[in-house]
Symmetry: D3
């Protein structure tokens, strides 16, 4: 059992049942999700101790959000409950040639206004092995960018390994700062970066001709960087993707098997399941095993409704090891 801390917003997720469109639905399925907490929930399901740092409204819906994280095994003792609203995202599941669609309604949430000044960092990071953040948080507000930087510094001064999923979102960064004014300072403090070429371009406001160029730049520029991780997804349709991943070390590169995902149930949170698998893998396995484990976690998430990977270690290992799938387990 390892000890991990994650940081980020958790939103109320509202989605029409089945394949209904927003225009026709008469109910929403209710979930709570957010990239970094999704990573944490995967890790907690596998028996790790995970604490998540976030902020919720201090009313019944905010309490339900905390409660759901606890159900998923996350330690919620550092979560702030304050005045304000919860961020919301509306998710319409695509099918076939119709894309899934997300409508964000996350501005002015309690988290977006949260600066984390009340966090007892010594306690937060006591005995912690890993800290995970994503590029969504610094994109929300000045307060959130400050909180991310503070958390990274506190983590690194305790020699905790840090992973960051750059996760560039063009509809964020509305608070007056451009990504390249903020992200480089955070990337410097990160040991494992999950990102593709486009994320690097946007976060650094630089141009790169290939991922190789990105990789060379990154290992040169960021002395603490241990790994860059990249997933490759081919979207045949909303229901059918092919996916694989590669782990780039300073010297060695490890590629995972590719998965044909022919009957996708829920695409959301699959990158987070992958990141969770990666952290668990790098904490407990060799690099090659780690990237296979991570990709298997990301692949099998496509079969689980909701934001969260709810698959046991055994299920992920079986898939990663190429065992026969699809038989009824009795």
């Amino acid at each position: 059992m390892k000890k991990i801390v994650t940081l980020g917003e958790v939103m109320l997720r509202l989605s029409p049942p089945g394949n209904q469109r927003f225009f026709q639905t008469h109910s929403f399925d209710v979930e709570f999700g957010g990239s970094e907490a999704n990573v944490g929930a995967a890790l907690a399901y596998w028996g790790n101790h995970v604490a998540h740092l976030t902020a919720f409204p201090d009313q019944e819906i905010g309490w339900a959000a905390s409660g759901q994280l606890r159900k998923n095994g996350i330690d919620t003792k550092f979560i702030h409950h304050g005045q304000g609203r919860i961020g919301i995202y509306f998710l319409e599941q695509g099918a076939m040639q119709r894309s899934s669609q997300v409508i964000y309604d996350r501005a002015n949430s309690v988290f977006a206004n949260y600066d984390g000044k009340d966090l007892p960092w010594d306690e937060v990071f006591d005995g912690v092995n890993w800290f995970h953040w994503s590029g969504i948080t610094p994109a929300l507000s000045k307060e959130c960018a400050g909180l991310t930087l503070k958390a990274l510094k506190e983590a690194r001064k305790r020699e905790i390994t840090v992973s960051g999923d750059l996760n560039y979102r063009s509809n964020l960064w509305q608070y007056g700062k451009a990504p390249h004014e903020v992200m480089p300072g955070l990337m410097e403090l990160t040991n494992v970066i999950i990102a593709g070429t486009r994320d690097f371009k946007q976060c650094l406001d630089e141009d790169f001709k290939s991922f190789t160029e990105v990789r060379n730049m990154a290992f040169e520029r960021y002395s603490d960087l241990e790994y860059i991780v990249k997933t490759d997804r081919i979207s045949h349709s909303s229901s059918n993707n092919t996916i694989s991943a590669t782990l780039f070390g300073k010297k060695k590169t490890y590629s995972s098997r590719a998965y044909e995902l022919t009957h996708i149930v829920d695409r959301v949170g699959t990158g987070d399941a992958f990141a969770g698998g990666l952290i668990h893998g790098l904490l407990t396995m060799k690099p090659k095993e780690a990237i296979e484990f991570a990709m298997a976690a990301g692949a099998i998430k496509h079969s689980v409704p909701g934001d969260i990977l709810l698959c046991s270690l055994q299920e992920v290992h079986e898939l990663a090891s190429g065992e026969a799938v699809g038989k009824i387990k009795r």
Copy 2:
């Protein structure tokens, strides 16, 4: 068939099914509702032509809101669709000794930022008999207060009867104005005021010892005022209320029967059903009949889920006339 215009915000209403609490729910029933559009929907269900003035986001959820108004018979051609979010209210149905609970998340909605500058007033009010507003709209923002005043002036200059439900809400009025700085100017332009003593106190920032005092003040101060209408509700529990209403004319007073509402299905929108009944009554009946019709409309709404009274003229008339109730109609 009369022609009526209503103005106000319509929100996305999200409520847990049955008697569930927010903390435990896994889905929300989806409705769209807002006080003034609820009034309009009741009037449209009875065959009147009703146009509603409001603003929605220009995306699928905003289109669904417009669509739902159309389903309820409302003319949506003057509705503005723009950038932004839809106001939301979360509703938890109470039961027995547990109160129903509303969590508002309506700040910064498209409507709250809407000034109605694009409205073609000549077309809006062409042939219109009645205009209805409520005290919620001017409480939302400077823009909304301005829009309300403009609509009132445009209506009254065309000699359209105006009703206003003062509907004081303490958790609104956040934009720098106090009610008494805004409401008196609107009340002056209103012919039928729906309000209790508390509403008058808050809107005028004056003290009144009794409703008689309120009534005397109002008919004296507002020369165009024709009626004040007041409902009286005794809340035995969330499931059981007693309700009646009184219509105060300058000279005469008309009281409705009282209704024992012993198995309440949905308390929300009952005041709006009453207001719709009142407008329909005053447009087509004598005052005594009008107040009986209005109170029957308000009473029977407690049996219908959702914000909207979906009861036919015949159903309301039968109840108002004291016919036997509760038998199966075949």
Copy 3:
């Protein structure tokens, strides 16, 4: 265990969930029900052998109707499956002061066109103790009236006790015959008549000043008549009724306790549950016990969703005997 035969149409029952109105529903709960089969189902649930005579379409929905009768314990071997449609009734559950509403769409059903010429009467009535019919069947069509008369004759020539629920429905009798042209011939062959004053008036096209007058006429006119049974219901609202029943023998009268039904779940089928209880009672108990058992069956049906009384003998006996109710049974 007694052997009982019932005859009548079974319709597809479509009702909006909960207290929704037809105008707002997005789904229908599916049941199958019909007065006489409801009577049969109650009897079968108590362990009697019940065969029902009816006709359904010979397609999947008709098969489902037969299947549902079988689930409820009814012997379906004499049911005819033919070309055509199934009768439908749409049911909207009322609440409080709003009445429940039924929209019938039963014209031209397979049953309405069914004359029962294929029925093997010797086999149908082999060892049978009781036959039950209602005034709905002869009201549907010439064929159905003929079938009812035939069944009554076949039953009586085998000395089977016959009960008939007159159940006058003004919206039926569309096929060119008036009730008084058909019903008297059926009543003559009936030993136990369930009906109120209004039913007698309509079926005989005669006027009666009181139920006493009805009763005197009936026992005088119909020599085989053993009992008349009448229920009295006061409808305070859709959710709250008071109910009691009286069994009139030639010489003696037996009245049941009255029940306060303060939280009605489903009003439909309560008369059928009563009739089922009456038949079971008269077959196995003394008259006073029988009418108490019948009324308890009718009363407790108001708590069960759907057309059918699904309460055990023990539950009905406990209620009839006045045992404490409402505690959790563990």
Copy 4:
């Protein structure tokens, strides 16, 4: 924004949830649909003004049907509400090697008995650009055939473009006329015919060896004919089809891309979505673009539950233009 009028029956659609069979379901999902109104709804969703001509029962379920059309953006002011029943169709969704199944229960509906004598044609067709009918309407009854012919004449005398989907259904035409006694007179008045070889054969009671023969005959025989349109569908299973379409002008032929529809959600209404796309295309685009737009509309409908295409212009254009699909839109 164009102005379009459509004519035809709208039925209550009742389908078991998910993949359930009729035999096992305990609820029906409720929709309202009909070929021509489905076409109209697609056009209205794209911002066109669409009025639909039909008839419904004058009770709550008929009002709900009208309301649903309004929600879908259709102008319902010319809809007749009268005594009688609503046509019903029961739909069981197939899966894999199991076919979808429709049970019709539409005989004797209000629409089937409707002759449209009350329609104010000048008002109906005021400013209208296009009128659409289908071969289902004249197949229902003498009244409906007469109404179709009347509408076509009224449209053509105002030089409105007319499209007709021949849509031969062998289980209709029960009222004493054969298709070839009625259809040729309607086809003569039609500018755009949607039909395959089989439809032409049945409607004309003639034999054709190939579609080329059909095409030559048609352009020769019908002087006002501008386009024939044909879709080609290969049904690998209920869940997996391949589809494409061709637009035949007098001189030129335009073929669309073929779509692999590998995870079909709802097959019903896909031809109507195609027809809607075709009308929108021919009204606003060049023929090649029009047939691509139409086929994209038809293809993406397979991903939307219900009878109606609820996809925006942008979504259809993106698919038609071959943009990458299946990514989450944020």
Copy 5:
């Protein structure tokens, strides 16, 4: 914030939706509940630190049970996961004169076979203020009886206050011991006993003529006993109860207000909510306030679906203090 430990089985609760009977249902609502954990969940919802001692199967359903306790705020770190089944109880909600019904299927559960030998008592009771048990646990098995005694001894030797809800269940005690062989030893170690006359009779196998006799006996016999608490419930029907409670100290007696519970939503767990309120009350209030708080908690639970009281401190206090109820809280 106080620290409390509770001990007992948590079962999978399966109930038909709404008022359906077992015979007719096609789905079960899933909850997890058990008397002592229900007590703990109420306490946790109010901000206390509560750890629950129990055992679950080590598979997904057992993990879900643990997860649900965590969601409800309970510390699950001492919960044992082992081989075996989870106890189940099937609950059918009664209505009106029909009783609710529970079918237990709890034999041979992981908990029933659990002896708690692995529990680190020093850690379990570190800083703990209160321990709560019920008479259900020792009734399950020899192992469970042993575990209860051990827990009581460990608690009392650390001077932790102990409450016990005697809760006699005649269908338990199947393992060869009679209650009076086991319960007296547990009652001796208990400071606050919740029980009525019948519970005392059964647990002691003695006869008492009145509760006064019970009370005198108890304070005399059990030197550590501080309070006896008794609730009085009148069951008018499944939907309507009257309830009140009394707290008997050695010298003084405190009675609560009586509550009319006229529209009961869920009767299960109301005694546990009361017990939770009592513990919270005795830990933080004076006796009179405590019994009022406890009874208000028990009363308001009748409005919440599921086993658990999900009402805030503020809601319970408002009810206890007699504030007006049933208005919408905005």
Copy 6:
């Protein structure tokens, strides 16, 4: 119409809706299923007379189980209702690379303790053509093994054809006997064995190098054996299988077409549908037709939710004969 008897346990099947995992579900869909009764239900749906031998608890859930069998057309008159619990199986539907998962909770059920001593064998087997058993029953308990042997002897002494699905389940056989101590005696009395190599190995505790070896052994050793039947399934994923079957006679072998099952709805009960098809086929067709019919029945079951094949003879024949599939049937 043939007469068939089946024997075996029927369990309560509880499954999360859609693709949800046990950990996240809040409701269970309720079905009743068991291998041999599933076989019987398929046969009954095709018009055969099928009686099933089993035992249920004598309470509402057991009655519902019986009722469900009756709905599915099964004669339940020989079913025993006694004290105890119903066996349960929890089923989580897999998707894509995630396997379906079954958690059994069937120990100590009424059936497991049932010895069938009360069965009137002369009546049970009166006029019966076929008896079917599976290897699950003798694996449950000594009583069940004895009952199976008794039934086989009674059947064979009346010259009834017997089929047995060996169906080895490693998690059963907990009662002190190994399969090879029990199964050979049962196989001797069986005319049609459905099994693969692994089943034979486990049941006989012998090793076989190939199915050919199995086949030779079996026809040599069991003089009454007429057919061995084997299905071959390739599991590409939980959503996509390829399947075919072979019927081995003493002299001739017949192979079915292979089916690509690309969008599996419910995998459970597909082997039982196959066995039902086989029995129907062997009773009414030639061997080649029989194996095609059986495999078509097994294939199309993958499209039907629940344990039971609910497809008509016509649907299975159409698929078996290779007719085009997937078009809408109107």
